[in-house]
Symmetry: C2
Subunit: 368 residues, 2 copies
Amino acid sequence: MALSVQPSSSPLLTSEADEKYANVKWEELGFALIPTDYMYVAKCKQGESFSTGEIIPYGDISISPCSGILNYGQGLFEGLKAYRAKNGCITPFRPNQNALRMQTGADRLCMTSPSEEQFVEAVKQTVLANKKWVPPSGKGALYIRPLLIGTGAVLGVASAPEYTFLIYVSPVGNYHAASSGLNLKVDHTYRRAHTGGTGSVKSCSNYSPVVKSLLEAKSSGFSDILFLDAATGRNIEEISTCNIFIVKGNIVSTPPTSGTILPGITRKSISELGRDIGYQVQERDVSVDELLEAEEVFCTGTAMVVKAVETVTFHNKKKKYRTGKEALSTKLHLMLTNIQMGIVEDKKGWMVEIDGYVPGTKKEISKT
Amino acid sequence: MALSVQPSSSPLLTSEADEKYANVKWEELGFALIPTDYMYVAKCKQGESFSTGEIIPYGDISISPCSGILNYGQGLFEGLKAYRAKNGCITPFRPNQNALRMQTGADRLCMTSPSEEQFVEAVKQTVLANKKWVPPSGKGALYIRPLLIGTGAVLGVASAPEYTFLIYVSPVGNYHAASSGLNLKVDHTYRRAHTGGTGSVKSCSNYSPVVKSLLEAKSSGFSDILFLDAATGRNIEEISTCNIFIVKGNIVSTPPTSGTILPGITRKSISELGRDIGYQVQERDVSVDELLEAEEVFCTGTAMVVKAVETVTFHNKKKKYRTGKEALSTKLHLMLTNIQMGIVEDKKGWMVEIDGYVPGTKKEISKT
Ligand SMILES: Cc1ncc(COP(=O)(O)O)c(C=O)c1O
Ligand SMILES: Cc1ncc(COP(=O)(O)O)c(C=O)c1O
């Protein structure tokens, strides 16, 4: 597809698109790419700042073979969702949190990031331009994938001279849709991240290394892989694309964000909701031993929101956990999705309404 | 630049290009990209094999925003050099070694790699197509950069459904040209790789994470950064883009390729040459203490070949090493570059002659 550039406002102003849905089988949504109409692209030279980007037709981008992303993995991604609320409003969930995480990542990878405001504005514009791809309420969400990549040409190992901030979207259902709970395998061969590395930022470089263990786990019938810390191999860290919590009595524990795990936005939100209903939520090292003694285990992440862990397999030991109606994860999942889908009032200020939004007025930038 | 595809043989058959040089200031070559005329591109679907690629004009490539490389850092690169020998022949150095290393990397990142023969053939074709960009004998080399990247679109973390094998080239001088020796800083904050990670393959994901420490070291006046092992922080591993050796008496030691450092092809070649002249070359853990007690330290890599280390700074301690005429590194540098530039006979079978090479005949595939 050619890169025909359109003024940023044009696709946003069609009154017709407002009421229509794209031709998607909403009941059958999984977590795979369905290309939509538009994407957002902005560029920035090293040492300068991002100026306003543009909404252009979704399609392949043109990139130097010698770019930082293709040669040295200089790239970050983000992932968030926009929901069609019960009342019809389209609402992204906490986009400013993704903006801030991208800034931290950009600092670690020596790139320039868009400002929080630019990021949130770009998310809004991209979602609005692809409005008809937001699933009907309760049928899924529009997954939003911002990228920040080194697109300038650079031969020696260094930061690229130009960066591109790009956002594309895809309607999605659930990440691990079918299962009642995850069956995790504790990884003994590979490690995801080490202290002094990039585990705490959403660098693309953290993901290709986990594909092999993920494939191996899936081919043995597991849903996903649970990584241990690289330093000691004694503590649990996180799953390939989500954080982990264990529950025992009134105490909910999750590994700390001390450099090797991603500070998940769902993790943060769920911790807050857990505290709201009287649980003691602790961020601290969690050993495999404790994991095996927990009553309940669950995962959090944008893709799956909150998902119970049914079993964990450690060497040849398989431990089963509480799932279903009695599980805390079921309760927390409901609390959060009720906010996300506009079923209960959002007292947290997490949902950003964009329907009435007019580009440039900034009046609805999130305050969360 | 548009992707106008040309038959692979056409640029190789112009008799004129044979005798001409490109319009380059050969005396001023550094290690920065000088775009040349052609690049090589081949594609392969997941589960299939690479078929023959094509030599096309050098220029930007078209890629899905949702590709494995842009989102999940699914990419490998290689780096090797072709020299214009004294007798005028153009000779890449050990390309089959890079082919094998790419295969190991592809396995780690769950990609399909070109066969050794395809890789070497593609290198030859790319070099021949860009013949006039190979610097005059003694003025530098043609740096060859093969990439293997996940170009298929993939939304969830997984291997991409399509891979692209691409080679571009650039004439280069030396990586750390000016200095008489490197001034290295031992890194205490960042780590490059961990056991169970991807440190031993040339994954793009190993490089963006080191840019920050490299920049910090350079801004303090150092040439490069020396990484310690992530597990204990006691042993030396390697520099951002090269391997390290220490010398004491008749013993030359270098960290082992046990999973966290790149098995350098220069490292392997220099180890062999060192043994040839009577040194005992040991591959084993080398502690910082030993480093500080060494008589001589040097680095090896495609970009700089062999380079003496003048100083190492560990915390606030600066240790000076032997450099210059008396140094083993000077001798080894001369031994290797004499082979590479065709000044002495290549008894090792390391240099691959490609001048008389006719694409498709395979009669000059390297046997090393
Ligand atoms: C490694 C990893 N951990 C955790 C998460 C969860 O983060 P969030 O809740 O912000 O989606 C993600 C991303 O989704 C991830 O990639
Ligand atoms: C991390 C690292 N170590 C070592 C080397 C040296 O390897 P080679 O001698 O094959 O160029 C390189 C690449 O050049 C590298 O990137």
